[in-house]
């Protein structure tokens, strides 16, 4: 049985996908930063998969259970503490603060309609904002993020230089959330900084 005599720091520390990172400027140093990057950490994330033919019903029940707008294909809406993101045909990711998203409510909403798994360990999450965010991110990814085709509530699944990436716009002004695999965090961050360095990046 566990030996209380051995000192062990509990509870164990949760490491963000990017690990410890100084808050500083990256890239062009003169003038105001065109882009601000901030890592979100400590979030809960569940991935839900609908049973055949149950997709719409399940989406509605998830929205109702957590007070979130129903996620149509390629949409994702929420508030600062929770979001329901379309993540493929018959798939959604429920993302937010742990207090807001509890397993029991989720299990009840899914019962009979779908299956879920806890995926909070698998991802990193970076918020991108700033006056040049739309231009900088728009150039960097192979999907059209222009306000005419992508806006508040839209979600895309794409890749950034071979790394799977999910992007959604979380506010009416261009402010983007990026979800990427944890193991590629280092490479993803290097790619992001390289792409945005010319605009001046404030890491917060």
């Amino acid at each position: 049985m566990a030996d209380p005599a051995v000192p062990l720091h509990v509870p164990l520390h949760w490491r963000a996908a990017l690990g410890p990172r100084p808050h500083q400027r990256e890239g062009r140093a003169e003038g105001a930063a065109g882009v601000a990057l901030r890592e979100q950490t400590g979030f809960a994330l569940f991935e839900v998969c609908a049973r055949p033919g149950q997709g719409e019903g399940l989406a509605a029940r998830l929205g109702a259970a957590f007070g979130l707008p129903v996620a149509l294909p390629r949409t994702g809406l929420g508030d600062a503490r929770a979001a329901l993101l379309w993540s493929g045909p018959g798939r959604w990711r429920l993302l937010g603060t742990p207090g807001r998203l509890d397993r029991a409510t989720l299990a009840a909403a899914c019962a009979g309609g779908g299956w879920f798994t806890d995926r909070r360990g698998g991802f990193g999450w970076i918020s991108v904002s700033g006056p040049a965010a739309a231009e900088a991110l728009g150039r960097a990814v192979p999907v059209d993020l222009h306000p005419r085709t992508f806006g508040f509530g839209d979600v895309v699944l794409t890749t950034a230089d071979h790394i799977p990436l999910q992007i959604w716009q979380s506010a009416p002004a261009p402010c983007y959330e990026l979800l990427f695999p944890r193991s590629s965090a280092g490479s993803f961050w290097a790619w992001l900084i390289d792409q945005m360095a010319g605009f001046g990046v404030a890491v917060g």
Partner: protein, 995 residues
């Protein structure tokens, strides 16, 4: 003195250069000065530099021919050191302060080039000579011919070191892409931009305006350049318009995709911080307007490659745009109305015109008037038969209409054979251009979907027509993309006379060049035709016409016309050979972007990576992952010592290894078990909860796809593992089965490899360590949690975890999985918790050694060519039930008992080492395929046994246990006698893992 004035041949007024600023630069040994707005070519001409290079084969002296990207002669080496660039066209280089340029292909100097001797060897080195020479004696090829040819071949020198600059690759989406910012392109962008469409306007020049910058045409009452600047200003003010000067759209691809390279910092000494040198744009456009203009061609006549023979349009560009007089006394030679314009411009700039030679017997009055105004005789129906001079033009011979000849002293010949529409992009998707006799030009065939061709690119050379066509096309493109607009007002513009007659070549004695860069002469084309290579595609490759870096932009049509004449075929029948991207050369840097060195592909790091780095682990790339191979301690000088220590540590006490990279696949659903039974050999529906089973999956052809484990966490919940190398493929395969084969099944598949940090804790003392890690209340005794048990538990003080009794090492082993964010803390915690037991971190090497000691198959055995039977898992194949691969696995060849099956081996001489890849031979048999009995798949040194061991596939398999075979490795030159044994060397009964 010339350095102070920006050049002795600089005109006192005019031009689009900034005269107040001076830029100093070097060319070969000379120091010169120019102005902002100059190209290297214009600045050199302003300084009287006529000789800029030596031709590829004959080393003939060459000068500047054109004023654009089509330049074949003025190829210089730019910059120095690791930024050195060969074969840069001086006509497109924007000079900057301190620019260094050198001529190429000459030794020891441009003026005194030893290579010129090739000119005398001309008769021996015509086109295709290398197909008929350098063959005898055969031995001479490697020792003499090839090294000589290698030294002589090529045109420039690449940089010696890695490029220090950064390059970027970016994406761009738009409604209308306008290619070319001349009059047509500017109007198209204006119409579409005002209508509200997202417009991208790209032009390869650093200043927008196209041909307007080179001519004296007035648009809307002001100069062409002033009008262009005004339009550019309005376009820049529109938020929905993006201007991309210095950007060449070089390729058209399927689906409305275009590739362009933007020369962001080529015109600066070094790129500013955080600015790429060049940027590759991948553009997706709903509609495109191709307003790429036209390229002028010369005439093939003897001596037409002499420095001083220039394209007439280029002469006008140097006069009007750069305020440079390319000569003091000029002859104008053409068969079209450009002769009038050229004579007028020369005279207006104070250049003497010796004569206007128009090949047409009756040129229009405008030409005669222009000649007269320039004070020059008009020689109608006449042709130039020779350009005289060496490094400098001294004069031209003329054959008059009456047959007599004259000599005209001159230092400049302005030639115009006509204009070829720049339609290259239209045929990148395979459409063939068609010949238009009236315009004497090849025009676009069916353009790529969504592309409209306008202006000179469509064969309309008149400025007013270009403006009108551009505006209409821009408006139509915007409308097609959903933006209704209004046609912009068309400014007043000239309708230039466009009379023309065909003038491809002049028949006269002497070397007449068709392709300047590859030194292809008229005689070469005749030779190719005589030898049976006269068809266009053959002639191109036989003579290398059009195969240089300029892709024959100024010479291809002349070559084609000459071939047509030789073969007696109409020109229309000889369509141009296929145009392929890129339109002009693109640097590898731009194509690579940031994908160089460590950034070439993303690296995946395990949750324990930071900790392993602190422990000085040596890492190895395992697919996209970086994994710890071994953890050397101070004093260990080779990896074998570290691995031996790690293996001992595991087998004698307890070891810790990060196994997070093994694929984990979450499978849930009412039909999860029956789905899995259709795709693998396991009978999952009968698997009890909380149990781990070894998993085998077959491909449709009956061979093994992958192995792994299947854990039943619930009645409708399974967790699969798959080998690190195959998990991506296995997941896609399962998803395909689910969606394509059985979409009616209720099963959800999720790749959760990323989500969990998983650690193996293995060794006789493993249970003691796990007892401290797992929270109190969970019974870890062997009865309660036996081998191959699995459970969801709490560990490390309340963290949800999954515990498995899996052993890849063959020792008493556990694997504990925690959500990946806890991985770093968990590995450190396990090291603390196991300190009393002497826990040892071990890596991939030790893990591999131990699994070979146990005979567990891994990647080398599951290589896509082995079956379940070969691996010794025949019993796993169910007799009943349909699963993928079942039918093909039962093929006679795959159930043949003589198929090579898995065995173990060890060297008879225990001190020898084994190498994987060696082949089994019966002792005494010759080393041949006929005697080949199989091969060694894995080999290692076993610290536990103290000698080398291996696994392999041997015909007849375990029937040969005890026998001696030879393991022959001719590649490494070794042959060893080996003893065949069962493929398990340590604890064959498996008691340790079950303890």
């Amino acid at each position: 003195m010339s350095a102070l004035r920006g050049g002795p041949h600089r005109l006192a007024a005019g031009g689009l250069i900034e005269r107040e600023s001076r830029i100093s630069f070097r060319f070969d040994r000379g120091h010169f000065a120019g102005h902002p707005g100059d190209t290297l070519a214009s600045a050199l001409l302003a300084n009287g530099v006529r000789l800029v290079g030596r031709s590829f084969k004959y080393h003939r002296p060459r000068g500047v021919l054109s004023a654009g990207a089509e330049e074949p002669n003025a190829l210089v080496e730019l910059r120095a050191g690791d930024r050195r660039e060969p074969n840069t066209r001086a006509t497109v280089v924007e000079i900057f302060e301190g620019l260094e340029a050198r001529s190429q292909n000459r030794f020891p100097s441009l003026r005194f080039d030893l290579g010129a001797i090739n000119g005398l060897l001309g008769p021996f080195i015509p086109a295709g000579f290398y197909y008929k020479t350098f063959m005898w004696p055969a031995a001479f090829w490697e020792r003499l011919y090839e090294p000589l040819i290698r030294r002589a071949a090529g045109l420039g020198r690449a940089a010696p070191d890695a490029d220090p600059d950064a390059y970027e690759r970016c994406f761009l989406f738009c409604d209308v892409l306008v290619i070319g910012a001349g009059p047509a392109g500017l109007m198209a962008a204006l119409a579409a931009g005002r209508a509200g469409a997202r417009v991208v306007l790209a032009d390869e020049d650093f200043r927008l305006g196209g041909r307007l910058l080179a001519e004296r045409a007035e648009i809307g009452g002001r100069s062409g350049p002033a009008w262009a600047e005004e339009v550019a200003g309005e376009l820049a003010s529109l938020a929905n318009v993006r201007l991309l000067p210095r950007t060449t759209v070089f390729g058209v691809y399927d689906g409305g995709t275009y590739a362009a390279v933007e020369r962001v910092a080529d015109h600066l000494p070094v790129p500013p911080p955080f600015t790429p040198r060049q940027r590759l744009w991948r553009i997706v456009a709903k509609r495109t307007v191709l307003a790429a203009g036209a390229i002028e061609r010369g005439v093939v006549f003897p001596g037409n490659d002499r420095p001083g023979v220039m394209l007439a349009g280029a002469v006008r560009a140097y006069l009007n745009r750069f305020a440079v007089a390319p000569g003091a006394r000029a002859v104008v030679f053409s068969a079209n109305d450009d002769a009038a314009r050229t004579a007028a411009d020369l005279a207006a700039c104070g250049v003497a015109v010796a004569a206007v030679v128009d090949a047409r017997p009756e040129p229009p009055p405008a030409v005669a008037a222009a000649a007269a105004a320039a004070g020059a005789p008009l020689l109608a129906g006449a042709v130039l038969t020779r350009a005289h001079g060496g490094a400098r033009l001294t004069g031209a011979s003329v054959r008059r209409a009456d047959g007599g000849s004259d000599f005209l002293g001159c230092d400049l010949i302005a030639v115009s054979g006509g204009w070829s529409p720049t339609i290259h992009l239209t045929s990148h998707l395979g459409a063939r251009p068609h010949w238009d006799e009236a315009r004497l030009a090849f025009l676009a065939g069916e353009p790529p979907p969504g592309m409209a061709v306008v202006g000179a690119a469509a064969g309309r050379m008149e400025t007013d027509a270009c403006l009108a066509q551009g505006a209409a096309a821009g408006l139509a493109a915007a409308a097609a993309a959903g933006f209704a607009g209004v046609l912009p007002e068309l400014p007043d513009a000239p309708h230039e006379s466009a009379g023309r007659a065909p003038l491809w070549r002049v028949k006269a004695p002497g070397k007449a060049f068709v392709d300047f860069q590859n030194d292809v002469t008229e005689k070469d084309l005749a030779l190719a035709n005589r030898e049976g290579y006269g068809a266009a595609e053959h002639a191109k490759r036989y003579t290398t016409l059009g195969m240089a870096t300029d892709q024959g932009k100024t010479g291809n049509l002349n070559g084609r016309a000459i071939l047509a004449e030789l073969r007696g075929e109409p020109l229309a029948a000889l369509a141009p050979t296929t145009f392929r991207p890129p339109y002009t050369p693109v640097s590898f840097g731009a194509l690579a972007g940031r994908a160089r060195g460590p950034a070439y592909r993303p690296l995946r790091l395990t949750p324990s990576h930071a900790w392993a780095t602190e422990w000085k682990a040596v890492f190895v790339e395992s697919g996209p992952w970086l994994r710890a191979a071994y953890f050397p301690e101070a004093g260990e000088h080779d990896w074998q010592a570290s691995v031996t220590r790690e293996v001992h540590g595991v087998r004698r006490a307890v070891g810790l290894c990060d196994v997070s990279t093994l694929g984990k696949i979450d499978v849930q659903g009412a039909d999860a078990a029956s789905f899995l039974e259709r795709v693998c050999l396991n009978r999952c529906s009968r698997q009890p909860l909380g149990r781990v089973r070894y998993l085998l999956m077959l491909r449709e052809d009956g061979f093994v796809l992958d192995d792994g484990t299947a854990t039943r966490l619930g009645p409708e919940h399974f967790l699969l593992t798959a080998s690190t190398a195959h998990v991506a493929h296995v997941v896609s395969h399962l998803e395909w089965c689910r969606e394509a084969l059985w979409p009616e099944l209720d099963v959800a598949i999720t790749d959760v490899t990323e989500d969990w940090a998983q650690f193996a804790v293995a060794g006789p003392r493993a249970r003691e360590v796990m007892a401290r890690a797992v929270d109190p209340g969970f019974d870890l005794s062997n009865d309660a949690f036996p081998a191959q048990a699995a459970a969801e538990v709490r560990a490390f003080g309340g963290i949800p975890a999954r515990l498995f009794r899996i052993s890849f090492s063959g020792e008493l082993g556990y694997e504990i999985a925690v959500p990946a964010g806890f991985g770093d803390a968990a590995v450190r915690a396990l090291m603390i918790l196991g300190a009393a037991q002497g826990i040892v971190p071990y890596g991939l090497e030790a893990m591999g050694t131990m699994r070979i000691e146990k005979g567990f198959p891994a990647g080398p055995e599951i290589n896509g060519q082995t079956t379940a039977r070969d691996l010794g898992f025949a019993k796993m194949m169910p007799k009943e039930g349909a699963y993928l691969g079942r039918a093909m696995a039962a093929r006679p060849a795959l159930v043949d008992p003589e198929r090579p099956a898995l065995v173990g081996l060890r060297p008879r001489d225990r001190s020898r080492r084994l190498a994987a890849g060696a082949h089994f031979l019966v002792p005494g048999a010759g080393a041949s395929l006929a005697n080949d009995l199989g091969f060694v798949s894995s080999a290692t040194f076993s610290p536990t046994l103290g000698h080398a061991i291996g696994l392999g596939f041997l015909q007849g398999g375990l029937a040969h246990v005890g026998k001696t075979m030879r393991a022959a490795d001719p590649l490494r030159g070794s042959e060893i006698e080996v003893e065949i044994c069962p493929p398990c060397f340590v604890d064959p009964a498996g008691e340790r893992a079950h303890g």
